[in-house]
C-alpha cells in the first residue's frame, strides 16, 4: 500500500456507484400512445435498445406499435411480446406494425429474440 492506493480505492468505489446509478436509476423515456384510426399508436425505434423503452397504453382498446429497426446487426431482428404470444420479425429500415389489445392493466415486458433488449408496456 502506498499513497496512490487509497485514491484508486476511493475512485473505484465512486466509479462503481456511478456506473450503477447511471444504468439502473435512469429516467425511463415514457411514451403515451397517440390515437390513430381507433388504435393507440406508438412508434418505437430499435437500435441497440428500444426507444422509448416504456410505453403507456389504455386497457381494452387495440394498440399498434410501429417498430422501426435502424440496424442490421444484433439480435433485434425479432421482437417478442410474450403476453400476447407475438413473435414478430423486424426487417431493417422498415416500419413493422404489431397490433394487439391489452385486456388487463399491468406492466408487460417486450424483448428481442434473445431476451437481451427490453422494454415494457404499461397498461392502465
Amino acid at each position: 500500500m502506498d499513497a496512490v492506493a487509497p485514491i484508486v480505492t476511493v475512485a473505484g468505489i465512486a466509479l462503481i456507484a456511478a456506473v450503477n446509478l447511471y444504468f439502473f436509476a435512469r429516467p425511463r423515456a415514457v411514451a403515451a400512445a397517440a390515437e390513430t384510426g381507433g388504435a393507440q399508436e406508438v412508434r418505437v425505434r430499435v437500435r441497440g435498445g428500444y426507444d422509448p423503452a416504456t410505453i403507456e397504453v389504455e386497457a381494452g382498446r387495440p394498440v399498434r406499435l410501429l417498430f422501426l429497426r435502424e440496424e442490421t446487426a444484433g439480435c433485434s431482428d425479432t421482437v417478442l411480446l410474450p403476453e400476447w404470444g407475438i413473435a414478430q420479425q423486424l426487417p431493417a429500415h422498415v416500419e413493422t406494425a404489431v397490433t394487439f389489445t391489452p385486456a388487463r392493466p399491468g406492466t408487460y415486458e417486450f424483448t428481442c429474440g434473445m431476451h437481451m433488449l427490453r422494454g415494457s408496456i404499461v397498461v392502465k
Binding site: E83, H93, E95, A97
Partner: protein
Amino acid sequence: MTFIQLDRLRAPAAETPEAPTTSGATGATLELQITGMHCASCVTRVEEALAAVPGVARASVNLATERAAVALARPVDAERLAEAVRAAGYGARAVSGPVADDAMERERAAELRLLQRRFLAAALLSVPVVLLGNFGMPPLLRGIPMAAQDWIQLAFATPVQLWAGWPFVSGSLLAIRRRTADMNLLVGLGTLTAYLYSVAATVAPDLVRGAGGEAHVYFDTAAVIVTLILLGRMLESRARASTSSAMRRLLDLRPRTARRVVDGVTAEVPLDQVQPGDVLLVRPGEKVPVDGVVLDGRSSVDASMLTGESLPVDVGAGDRVTGATLNQSGSFRMRAEHVGADSVLMQIVRLVQQAQGSKAEVARLADRVAAVFVPIVISIAIAAFVLWFDFGPAPRHTQALLKAVAVLIIACPCALGLATPTALIVGTGRGAELGVLIRGADALEAADGIATVVFDKTGTLTRGRPALTDVVPAAGVEEPRLLAVAASVEQRSEHPLAEAIVRGARERGVALAEPDDFSAVPGRGVVAVLQGRVVALGSPALLAEQGAALGTLDAERERLERAGRTVIAVAENGAALGLLAVADTIKPDAAATVAAMRRSGLEVWMITGDNARTAEAIAGEAGIGPDRVLSQVLPGEKSAKIAGLQQGGRRVAMVGDGINDAPALAQADLGIAMGGGTDIAMEASGITLVRGDLAGVPVALRLARRTMQVIRQNLFWAFIYNTLGIPVAAGVLYLFLRPGGPVGPLFGWQGTLHPMLASLAMALSSVSVVTSSLRLRGFR
C-alpha cells in the same frame, strides 16, 4: 459497409399475409422488386416515379432489400407501377409472397458476410501485432528501436479496433447514450481499455511512466479479443440461422403460383391473388395451392410434408385438400376456401412462431439476471482493478488492468439469453416437422411433469364412427343373405348405425337391392318390403312385435351387448334371420400406443359419455383397465372429472378432439388436441397433433421433455460458465495458486487468466449454447 442506412421508409410496412398478429396500413399494398439502384438518390427517384402514378398513396423504397412497398389509395395494376419505374431508368417487377422473410434472409446473409469480412481483416492484421508483441522484431529488422515497434503495432491494431471492432465501439457509445447496458458495452470497454492504454504508452510513454504506470503496450490483447469475439459471433450467427431452418422449410412449402380457371380459361396467377371461391386447376406433380374442396377429377395427394403421414390419400369430388400438399397422379379442379393466413399451413407456421414468443417460467431467473448483468460485471471489473492495484503483485498497473479487461471480456450474458429461445425455436420447429405443434414454453413445461394421460374415447381412441363388427346368422341362413337383406333395407335410412351396416356390406362385396316400401319406427328400427317379403330390422323388441322370436340367438345378443356393441336383429316374414352388431372401433395403433405409454410409467385413463359396459369394453381393447375408465360423463362434466384426477397434485394431460372436449383440454395441465380436430380444441390445448393417429401423443410428450431438458442444460451451463468464469478472470484463484500461497502454482499456473484466453472462452460459450440447442434437430 454493404448497406447505406436509410431511414426513409416512412410508410407502414406491407401487410404480410403470413403474420396475422401484425397489420400494416389500411388499403392494399403492392411489392416491387427494384434493380439498378446504387445510392440514396436512386431511391428518391424511384419513390418519386412511383408516387406519380395515379392511385398511389405512398411509395417507399428500401435500398438494402431492393424492394419498393407501394401503398395504394385505389386499385392499381402492378405492371403499371413497374412500367413507371422502368421509365425512370431502373428495373422493376411485381413480386408476391413472403416479402418480410425474403428480406430478412438477405439481411442476415449480408450481415454474415460483413461479419466474415471484419473477422478476416481482424485475423490478418492481428498476426503482425501478436508476433511483434510477443517475439519482438524478426532478426532482419532488429535495428529498429523499441519505440518504433510500438508504432508499427499501433498501425496494425488500429484498423482492427476501429473497423473490424467497430460494432463493439459503436454499440458501446449507443449503450452509454441510451443508458442500456449490453454485450457490446462489455467487449467495447474491455478492448478499448487495452487499446487506449497502449496508445497512451506509445504516443506519450513518459506521461504513462510519470503516472506510475509501465509503458508496455497491449495491442495484441485488444486485437486478439476483437478477432476471437468476431469469430464467436460469426459461428453463433451461423448456428442461429440453422435454428429456424425447420420454420423456413415450412414456409418454403408454399407454392408461388396457382392455375386459376375463369370462364373456362386457365391462367397462372401469383398465390396471393387467389381468393376464396376461385376455381383452381391442379395438375399431376404440382402442389395444391390453397386449402379447398375438390370439384371434379380424381387423384392421390401426399400430405407428408404437413403431417408426417407417409401414405398418400385418395381424393375425389367433395374431398378436402390442403394447400402445400403434393398432388401425385391425376389432375383435378378445386374451389379455394382458405387462403393466406387462414390456411392450415400458415396456421401451423403461426403456432410455431408464437411458441417462440411465449413465456418460459424456467428462464425467469436468467431473464432477471440478464437484465442487471452488464452493470454488475462492470462493477466487478472495477473492483478487480482496485483490489489488484492495492494488494496485487508488481507490475500492479498492468496486472490490475489485465484482470479488469479479462472480467469484462469473459462475462457472457448472451449465453444466458440464448439458452431458452434457441432451444424453443429448434424444438418447436422439429415438432412441426413431426406433426406436433407446440403452442409455447408453457406447454413444454406442462408436458414435462405429466404423470397421467386421459384419452377421450370417441374420435380419439376410436375412429369416431360406428362400424359393422359382427354378423351372426340364424341357423340355416347364409351370412351374405343376412347382410344383403339388412343392408338393402338400411340404404334408405340415414341413421349412423344404418350407414355402418351398408358400408360393412359393401366392403364384404354383397350386392344390394332396392326396397319397395320403407318406414321407420322411431326408437325401434325400420320395417320395409323387399322383393315381396316384409323385413323388420331393429331392436329385439321390434322383432317381438313382428312375431319373430330370437330363440337361440338371444344368448349371442347378450354376449355382444356385454362386449359394448349395439345389436340389431333382422327378421323376414316373421322369422329371425340373425343379428348384426355395430360398434365404434378402436384405432389400429391404440393398443400399442397405450402399452408404450404405460411402459414409460404413465397412468393412462379413458373418459367417455358411454355407459360403463360399452366404455369398459373399448378400454379393454385399448389395454386400459376398468379401474381407469371414467364412463357416463356428460360433456359438461368432463373438466370436473379432470380436476378430480388433478387432486393430490397429479399432473394430468387430456387428449381430445371435439368442441365438447375444449373445457377439459383447458382444465388439464396439458391439453393435446388430435389432428383434424376443431379450432376450438386447438385453441384450448398446449399441443396439437396434425396427424390423427395416437402415436403422436408419446412423441409429443417425449419431444417436450427433451426440449425442456436442453433448456435446463443450457441455462445450467450458462450460469455455471458465468459464475465460474467471472471470478477466475478476476483472479480469485491467485489467492491460492500464487507462489507461496496455500496451494502454490498448479503446473506453473498461478491462477490468473489472460484476457486473450478469456475472449476465447467467451466466444465458445455462446456458440456452445446454440450448438446444444441444435441437437434437438435430430429428435425422432
